[in-house]
């Protein structure tokens, strides 16, 4: 399965993303940041690449002043 991994500046920002995405009924997981990605924070958010709502996610994060980087990752 292919995922988009969203990486943030701090744990506080991940948790804010967690809150606003939940409020917007987006399906996602909070995961430990995969080792291959450089991050300031031990937690990241992953969303299925095939998810139709993926496009909405970036808009929601930007609207809430959350800076992020997106990476691709295959996870079983």
């Amino acid at each position: 399965m292919f995922y988009k991994i969203f990486i943030f500046e701090s744990s506080h920002k991940v948790l804010k993303a967690d809150k606003v995405l939940t409020e917007n009924k987006i399906k996602f997981d909070v995961i430990p940041t995969p080792k291959e990605f450089s991050s300031d924070c031990g937690l990241s958010i992953r969303i299925k690449e095939s998810d139709a709502e993926l496009l909405k996610v970036e808009a929601i994060l930007e609207k809430n002043d959350l800076n992020f980087k997106v990476h691709n990752k295959e996870m079983k």
Binding site: S10, S11, L15, P32, D40, C41, G42
Partner: protein, 383 residues
Amino acid sequence: MIAYFDNSTTSFPKPQEVITAISDLLTNYNASPGRSGHQFSVRAAREVFDTREIIAQLFNAPSSDKVIFAANATHALNLAFKGLLKKGDHVIISKMEHNSVLRPLRHLEEQGLIEISLVNCSVEGQINIDELKKSFKPNTKLVATLHGSNVAGTLFPVKEIGEICKRNNVLYLVDAAQSAGFTPIDMQNDNIDLLVFTGHKKMLGPTGIGGLVINGDIKINTTIHGGTGSRSENDLHPDFYPDCLEAGTINTTGIIGLKAGIEYLLKNGIENLKEYQLNLTRFFINQLKGIEDVILYGAVANTDRLPLVTMNIKNIVPSDLAFLLDHDYNIMVRAGLHCSPLAHKTIGTFPQGAVRFGIGCFNTEEEIKYAINALKEIIFKHK
């Protein structure tokens, strides 16, 4: 009857919701918040995040990432003073301040780093605003005052002081140890740059949790460095809030209890609970006024004030009175200087101090009547 009147020191009892929330954490998901990424860790982290959000909302702070958790108000004040002040800075405080403000500043003064000006206060414990206005110097960096006096029960006009500080381009720190959770606080409207609170008094949480809330872009250098769960590959401590001021595993138990305490306040209405406590305070003061040999101190009963009563009985040492109340009547109060020698000098009760009844939202009129009768009996026996 058992009557607990030491709520200005630590509030008791706590709402059942606080006990339930802490018990739920310790029973069901007590992991390190945000450190490990598994479901318990994430759940704990969400609770901590929600608590920062609710605190930012409670004090109308612009950003929840600048809600910094500390062990208590003293710890938070130390973080602020030692992380903010530099050599040559001048600080203005009042003569009602608690040792938690006075001692860290005196320490910095003793090291030759800062100078301090103390603004006089009235015998009722109210700050002299004209003198405050005249205390500013070119190197004044900070004004630090309490919001509510733990000794006199006065509430300082923080909005007015905040405006004066803003006009002088000086930061304003408010020590809200006594007032947070008792009376509404609006950091943005009142020009409060730094707000210090503790969880175990009027916010109805457990001991061991407090914090510092920062309004806007203010750099506070950390005096504690260590693990944060963020930027772990780097030797240097992170520079972003809240991590930069929080090293080591934070007090999740305290934070979750505090959150439940704040939710209790919001559910019941801070203004409603305030009015209830002030009605009891005014009733108590009015009854005491009718008793010969009772000496009352501090704020006038009908002003906007804290729910505490500071008093003495003629010819009885305060510590003896407190012991008699506890031993003979199961009435718990606090006697002495309340960690505030400056304030007791201001109201004229230094060095013997006074007896303080701290009224909380779970005290009742029956308890007040019981205390009044106990005081009358003690006075009668000492005649």
